[in-house]
Amino acid sequence: MSYSDTELLAVVAARQLAGVTSVFAGVGVPLVAAVLAQKTRAPQLVIVVEGGSMGPRMVPGRLPYSTNEMRTAPRAQMLPGITDTFLFAQRGFLDVGFVGGAQIDPYGNLNSSVIGGYERPKVRLPGSGGANDIISLCRRVMVVTMHERRRFVPKVDFVTSPGFLSGGDSRRDAGLVFGTVSRIVTHLGTLAFDPESRRLQLESLHPGVTVQQVRDNTGFELPAPEHVPVTEPPSAEELETLRSIDPERNFLG
């Protein structure tokens, strides 16, 4: 069964949620992946959305466009206020967070604020939203993103959401004593951090992707192990379930 890049990304992201109790997910591919996980390997998964929804059952074909609307609420278990929703993360109740960004650097720092300078930017982007909070407060955070050279840059123009900052212990030294960025999931493979330097390295490749292809799409040096594990391709069941969640392909492209 053939599949698109976005579908592959959603399937691989969903698999990350096996055994996970709660996922703090934004709309788009992360949310689609979370719903897919619920319907496949993680029936116990509680989806948490920053607009203030815990444990909703998303309605296929009526996925939300934003984190704060009725479509995010159907048959939820609780609708806490937005601030309180993030405070659940700060206290440590939320297991995994999914975030993204316009730029990502070798230490997993994310930029969703500005291209260029902050004051008179070349491009003003929408901003942090909950990304800064999720990456600062959840137990484990994964970046879910398309893999493009313009996105994977040596240095982000602005650290909207802190990964490992300048590496080593710098995240801890800044006061971020909780949580960690565990992995970058892209449509080409997965990247993880060296446990000492906290720099990104290649962890796995998706079927048919080469190390060179990943490097060509990464704007900084990316070490790779000698033998890179290859991802199991999306199964027919995964793809069928995925497509039933977003039949109009609003988010699967």
Binding site: E69, G81, I82, T83
Partner: protein, 318 residues
């Protein structure tokens, strides 16, 4: 007012004549409480329970030099920029939502250096309202630490005197005005909200003046029948206005879904004709109508009924 100045903020409340009486008024009268230069905190979030009717009346009354704060700001921000009504925006995110792309109006204004744009994290700004609501100068948090948001906002770091850990302190925000839209209120301003609470209660308590529009004004006995549903007490509210569909075309939980087709038409126009289309929208929906009834007529009964049905399909009958 200087942020974090909880003493001055409380003095303002104390200087204001406090009333427990009838606050029911018209939209025009209620919105007259907004002054040029005010900081307006906007309730709801993004396109959910936005006080759109009230915001459009602010524009109709021609206020200038405003600052708007809102955690996720939707195209109401574009309308205020196009009206030259705002000097500053404070938010964590500005856009309609994923499918509708970046805000061209925001890009034009910020990239052109024509507006102060202050970015906080979502929780960071939420805690600013909460500190204000609590009447304290700041709240400690771990969020924002290490990020470049620390450098462009009025946060401080401190060593925790109990644990030695580094903390981010976010200063309290005390807006001059809170504009909120709720499901029901009585004429004394006791408000009840269904579904998402968003940040409305914190915003109400933090602000010096609170203006509420409600889908429905109910008898006080209806509020008193379920006091555990009340989230904002009348003591905190200065004016309350009955305003059915007061968020339209944004959503009101359980009552009507957002009109996505309308968003689409709006952004299509901006994409096709540039940000001048925002001014066209203003002409038609804000200045071209005398008030909310004419405004709703532009959408038509059918659209309202359709969006009601969408809400009912999604969440069941109320």
């Amino acid at each position: 007012m200087r942020s974090a100045d909880f003493v001055e903020a409380r003095r303002r409340l104390e200087a204001k004549p406090q009333s427990t009486g009838d606050k029911l008024t018209t939209l025009t009268e209620a919105v007259r409480k907004v002054r040029d230069g005010d900081h307006i905190a906007i309730g709801g979030c993004l396109f959910s329970r936005s006080p759109l009717a009230a915001l459009m009346e602010v524009l109709r009354q021609g206020r200038r030099g405003l600052t708007l704060s809102r955690n996720l700001m939707c195209y109401e921000g574009e309308l205020f920029m196009a009206s030259k009504a705002v000097d500053g925006l404070m938010t964590s995110w500005f856009d309609i939502a994923l499918p509708w792309g970046l805000s061209l109006k925001l890009r034009e204004e910020v990239e052109g250096g024509r507006i102060r744009f202050e970015e906080w994290s979502h929780l960071g700004l939420g805690l600013r309202y909460r500190a204000g609501a609590m009447g304290v100068p700041f709240l400690p948090t771990l969020t924002m630490l290490g990020s470049d948001l620390m450098g462009v906002t009025d946060t401080k770091t401190m060593q925790c005197p109990f644990t030695g850990e580094t903390l981010c302190l976010v200063p309290a925000l005390f807006p001059e005005v809170a504009l909120l839209h709720v499901h029901r209120a009585d004429r004394f301003g006791n408000c009840q909200i269904d579904g998402y609470p968003h940040m409305d209660t914190d915003i109400a308590k933090a602000a010096a003046t609170v203006i509420v529009t409600a889908e429905e004004i109910v008898d006080e006995e209806e509020i008193r029948r379920q006091p555990d549903r009340t989230v904002i007490p009348g003591l905190v509210v200065d004016a309350v206005v009955e305003m059915p569909y007061g968020s339209f075309p944004h959503e009101c939980y359980g009552l009507y879904e957002a009109d996505f087709a309308h968003f689409e038409a709006y952004t299509d126009a901006v994409k096709a004709r540039g940000t001048g289309a925002v001014n066209d929208y203003l002409e038609r929906y804000v200045h071209g109508v005398s008030g909310h009834e004419q405004y709703l007529a532009l959408f038509g009964e059918e659209a309202l009924a359709r969006q009601r049905r969408c809400a009912e399909e999604l969440l069941g009958p109320r």
